[in-house]
Symmetry: C2
Subunit: 454 residues, 2 copies
Amino acid sequence: MTTTTLDGLVEALGDAVLTDADACEAYRHDWAREPGAGTPLAVVRARSAADVQEALRWATAHGVPVVPRGAGTGLSGGSSAVDGGLVVSLEQMRGIEIDVETRVAVVEPGALNIAVKAAAAEHGLWYPPDPSSYEICSIGGNVATNAGGLCCVKYGVTTDYVLGLDVVLADGTLITLGGKRIKDVAGLSLLKLFVGSEGTLGIVTRAVLRLIPAQPPRATLVASFPTVTAAARAVVAVGRTLRPSMLELMDAASINAVEDHKPMGLDRSAGALLIAQSDAPAAAAAEEVAVIEAACRAAGADDVFCTDDPEEGEMFIAARRLAFPAIEARGSLLLEDVGVPVPLLPELVEGVAAIAAELAVEIPVVAHAGDGNTHPIIVFDPADPAGAARAQQAFEQIMTLALGLGGTITGEHGVGRTKKGALPAQLGADVMALSRKIKDALDPQGILNPGAVL
Amino acid sequence: MTTTTLDGLVEALGDAVLTDADACEAYRHDWAREPGAGTPLAVVRARSAADVQEALRWATAHGVPVVPRGAGTGLSGGSSAVDGGLVVSLEQMRGIEIDVETRVAVVEPGALNIAVKAAAAEHGLWYPPDPSSYEICSIGGNVATNAGGLCCVKYGVTTDYVLGLDVVLADGTLITLGGKRIKDVAGLSLLKLFVGSEGTLGIVTRAVLRLIPAQPPRATLVASFPTVTAAARAVVAVGRTLRPSMLELMDAASINAVEDHKPMGLDRSAGALLIAQSDAPAAAAAEEVAVIEAACRAAGADDVFCTDDPEEGEMFIAARRLAFPAIEARGSLLLEDVGVPVPLLPELVEGVAAIAAELAVEIPVVAHAGDGNTHPIIVFDPADPAGAARAQQAFEQIMTLALGLGGTITGEHGVGRTKKGALPAQLGADVMALSRKIKDALDPQGILNPGAVL
């Protein structure tokens, strides 16, 4: 492909098109740093839906692959560039409008999650989905992966808040799905099909997001358990009684990784730690925490600390959030996102520990325990090829383990390119074939994010 | 089509196949009593997923249309039989298993909504979606229409609770989507695509439904307003502050229809009535009701009654539920299900009143006000052809009105056959074309519920 073939594109889009080597290099990878990433022909930094339409019309006419990209914080290589393709970056489309009376945010895909939360908060409203990366990830990426987070255990995931989408299809057609209606069952659920499609069916250029009233301050509980099994028993018991607004787990390896990195006062001898919050209104939060405490003690918690001081509670959440940087400081990472039915958490965490021991790889685990969604974080030294190979083996084995427990290879990060190999084992041949039929119907040339997911 | 052509089917399915005229007549209509309903060749009362597979393999081989049917309580003609086709009834597949630890129900499609609620309640758990018909409608139908209900305003609709589905495709292939995982983003969101597809893409033979802990007793508030506008202002104000577990509206015509039918002590002079509930834990429910009361008074409520006695509260809900039978007693009905952004409720209700006046048709309105989803109920005398024609005109005009307000033709009942004509006006040509592409990819012969939705 020569630069001549770009002429029509540059004509249409002007300086939104970057072709210099530095730009092309800068847009090759997302946070997964997936090694198969290619080098794009050009980067289109779209300023509007019309720009996205131009780019896709051009790509369709020339049969050029297109990789959509939000903030580039994806953890599965969903935005790895493709050799000779376009990267269509939505990072400049950051508009946010809050419709206070209708309680929705109308958002461009490049807007950061934190910016939507902030804009809503100005009106006493709240956009719940909260990936750990909420300060740096974009709504477009959240929609593309159907992102989760910490509060999902009570408030659900991204798809539960998407009321409407504008989507540019492979041929450049712009469609509008849904709108400012809370309930709408007119026609097939195309809206929900695009959520989580990881840029393989179209490019989102606008989202209508449901907001809810800001929630009361949270009360917090931290409990340490002798074993992950005991902690999981507490998670099951809590879930039968009430809906905490957060229910996170750290295993012994992740507790110690945090304490090695920065002493936070966590109990290094614990087999597992649960961090729970309640945002029930008024005095009910403290009452819910008391119920959670009783469930933890009944399940064998050694030690339980409760506080209704939001700032004190935030310190423990900070320790939980510190797990990722703390573990990152130990080497290169392969980040898992496997999920299982909640009662099978102990089998999963024990299985991960067995894989870690067998392959001599360090694999701390943090988990959105209330949802059964876990992040085993595989640490390796990239300068040690044998170790890196064992890390990759562990990555595959953990996904196989999760599937054997009736689980999923990805609870919230998406399949992208790093987990693509394991997808057929989860879905089976018939569902893969059905998925391909839908992909082919929407993107007959296969130009949208080729190599991702399917 | 002669009976000979049924031979293979009867051989495969034995006495699950009914061909007598009485049976065929009994399965022609759902509750919409859509006049275009045909007469089926046979009714298959499936006993298992295998029966459904047999029926669809046979239908595919013979090019025979298939109409899936749950409890037959649909309100849009989604289960109207087709001349010369099969009706596949799921009414005998009623199995319910509760997995208490994982907090899910594994349910066959013929199980009634009320039976799932009851089975969950035995374990202190709750299946929230609550269509007004919950005592007689089936889970299969709920999934097919993505049914809503009264508690959606806080707890969401059917799709929010569907974690997994077994679906038999047009050619008889049985696929399993999702499972007992709360979060799962592996591959395209096919699960969500089947929810709300009204039997046009496949037949659901098993659903894995998310359960949540049973909620505390509800506190109730009833407020009367001089106008619908004032009531809608209260709905908007409440929604900015908290999430009631119910927020229903009755207009003057529906209040009076109920009082005519059975005196319930409602205020006949009110312009509109709001019925709100809070199920916040412990004392917080009464506090939330106090906040709702303040919002109602600020919005101009004439009179507000509050109670934290669940039985007393239930009497008002009973009055609300009585609206449908009360109005049904007045004549034949055409039931609307239009929705608009919540702040536009007054425009919608006033527009409906104007249409009623202009066409001289009686159209009381009840609404899931918190969701902006309304049920204008058009009353007519079938013995008066001119009146029936005006009723049909009103039916069309109300959908046009809702679309003009950025709304939907159906918030929870589905498009079926009665609203099919209005769907292109809502979706537009591009989304219709995209929907047909997906339909064609999944059902290339077009045998699944032909004539419905698309």
